[in-house]
Amino acid sequence: MAQQQTAGPPATGHADLAGEFLDRQTPLSRIRNILHRYPALSPAIVLLVAVVVFGLLNDRFLRFENLSLITQQVSVVGTLAIAQTLIILTAGIDLSVGAVMILSSMVVAQLAVGSGIPGPLALLAGLVVGLGAGALNGFLVTRFKLPPFIVTLGTLNIFIAVTLLYSGGSTVRGSSMPGLLTWTGSTFPLGPVRISTGVIMMLLLYGAVAFILGKTAWGRHVYAVGDDKEAARLAGIPVNRVLMSVYLAAGAVLAMGAWLQIGRTNAASPNAGVDLNLDSITAVVIGGTSLFGGRGSVWGSLLGALIVGVFRNGLSLAGLDVLYQTLAVGVLIILAVSIDQWIRKVKS
């Protein structure tokens, strides 16, 4: 990593910042300062190294079809990671993202197939489910001052139960749904490679959320609330309103994820997505967003989701047992959090 680092852009125009650290500027602390300033840099380096290594290990890895497959495989968890990033930036955590997405997808599918409601309306109902779930989480966090971990641990179980009660445990096949619902799973050719509509939608969502977080007052308030809630309150930021809007926005993103999930799996299954709750947190953490809030970026989470996808794909192409993929992901998480802790020491 150190060799990669020197190739990165130097922090020009911050001569006085450099002066601030002049007395204890070692190569290692310089690297730390740069990583601290650009939180998405370390996951980007990891992804690059992983792609190069897996490419060298197996010729098939770098083929367009394989790379396209990886992006499709990460599209759902990548979308959930957007919602998860928003909440983790506020120093919260959402254990219920996967459950909300599955509940939303079951409502969409049941309404469209069981009740014969038109596709757009069914999707709208899915959005309402996502917003409702976000509102419930946000309400419990802001009004009852409960820790987000406990709130979403509770709602996780509630949403899973509601999903199974509502669906009767049965899967709805994609072939019986209106075309709009499975449209997210369709692909179109782009040069030599086929791109999935869902991947494009995920990327557009990343762009939109990155824009909002980086360029608007709301985005800045999200960071400020996660950074130091009391300071934000004293600075005149309506902390509870910001938190509530974050949970609502996350709910809307999860509804979008539900649509992508239906397209990707060509079905709506109440038993899918059990791993997605934790997988989304994995992506965010590997992406360099701090679990303590206020630090990180949504692009990092995309990189985090891609890193997990690349490791799983690369290891399976290398012929390793699926258990080694899980092992690798576990090591990645601990590594990512260790790096985060190390980078945070920069404030001293």
């Binding site: 006085d16 608007t216 800045r220 960071y223 950074d227 934000a232 004293l234 005149g236 404030k347």
Partner: protein, 264 residues
């Protein structure tokens, strides 16, 4: 500053900018404030001193909207006000620098100066997409720091967590000064600072006063208080024990009043 301005209590002509009458605040059975009155006149530095638990912080919180007094009156420029939140006080031109500074460590200097009142771009980008005017805010932040003579902060794009204690204090004071149109309240601004940095902050306090902004300064540090204050409000056991001036009383007198060993 003329002598009459130093002791405005004798002249009824000048109207206080901030006026508190008989403020009472209890926390359960603990009496935080037991009928405290305070006047702040234009262009003065009013220090509030007192031992721990004397009610300094409660008084300041009531003046700045962080606490709501149980009873008593509060007037800004002669007009009765009721602050329920810090935002209410801010809307009346009262800006506070809290002891914990209330800065967001990961955000840069300019973002912190404008935190909670960000400015958007003019035109459709700002109106429709609500895009922040980052460049404009950085420019204004720089101008404000220059105007206040804060030379230690050249780069407004540095995250606040990379700054020294004095520089963070300067950011918080600059924010208060930039937006405080009537009163700036500083809670223990030199508590965590070294000698050189303390002097810089005290100079900032004088500069604010010289620009016509009255300042309320809460401090434990007697030399600092006697250095910059025009009048000193001594708080003891939830009441105002005396209001003195650095001319009329010595530091030893002030400490004696504070601890109850003497009366003014």
């Amino acid at each position: 500053m003329t002598a009459t301005e130093m002791q405005p209590s004798g002249t009824a002509v000048r109207q206080p900018i901030l006026q508190a009458r008989n403020l009472v605040k209890t926390f359960g059975r603990v009496v935080g404030l037991d009928g405290v009155s305070l006047d702040l006149y234009p262009g003065e530095v009013l220090a509030v001193i007192g031992d721990n638990g004397a009610g300094k912080s409660t008084l300041i919180k009531c003046l700045t909207g962080a606490e709501v007094p149980d009873s008593g009156e509060l007037k800004v420029s002669g007009q009765a006000v009721h602050f329920k939140r810090p935002q209410d006080a801010r809307a009346h031109g009262i800006e506070t620098v809290y002891q914990n500074l209330a800065v967001s460590p990961a955000l840069d200097v300019a973002s912190n100066l404008f935190l909670g009142r960000e400015e958007r771009l003019a035109g459709p980008l700002g109106k429709l997409f609500r895009v922040l005017d980052t460049k404009g805010m950085r420019r204004k932040a720089k101008e404000e720091l220059t105007r206040l003579g804060i030379s230690t902060l050249q780069d407004v794009t540095v995250p606040v967590e990379n700054l020294s204690g004095g520089q963070r204090q300067a950011v918080a004071v600059a924010r208060a000064a930039a937006f405080g149109s009537k009163v700036v309240v500083l809670d223990e601004p030199t508590a965590a600072l070294g000698v050189r940095e303390s002097n810089q902050v005290l100079q900032l306090v004088r500069d604010l006063r010289d620009r016509g902004l009255p300042v309320i300064l809460i401090s434990h540090n007697m030399p600092h208080v006697f250095d910059v204050a025009d009048r000193i409000h001594v708080q003891r056991l939830g009441k105002c024990a005396a209001t003195i001036t650095p001319q009329s009383h010595s530091m030893t007198d002030a400490v004696a009043i504070m601890t109850g060993a003497a009366t003014a």
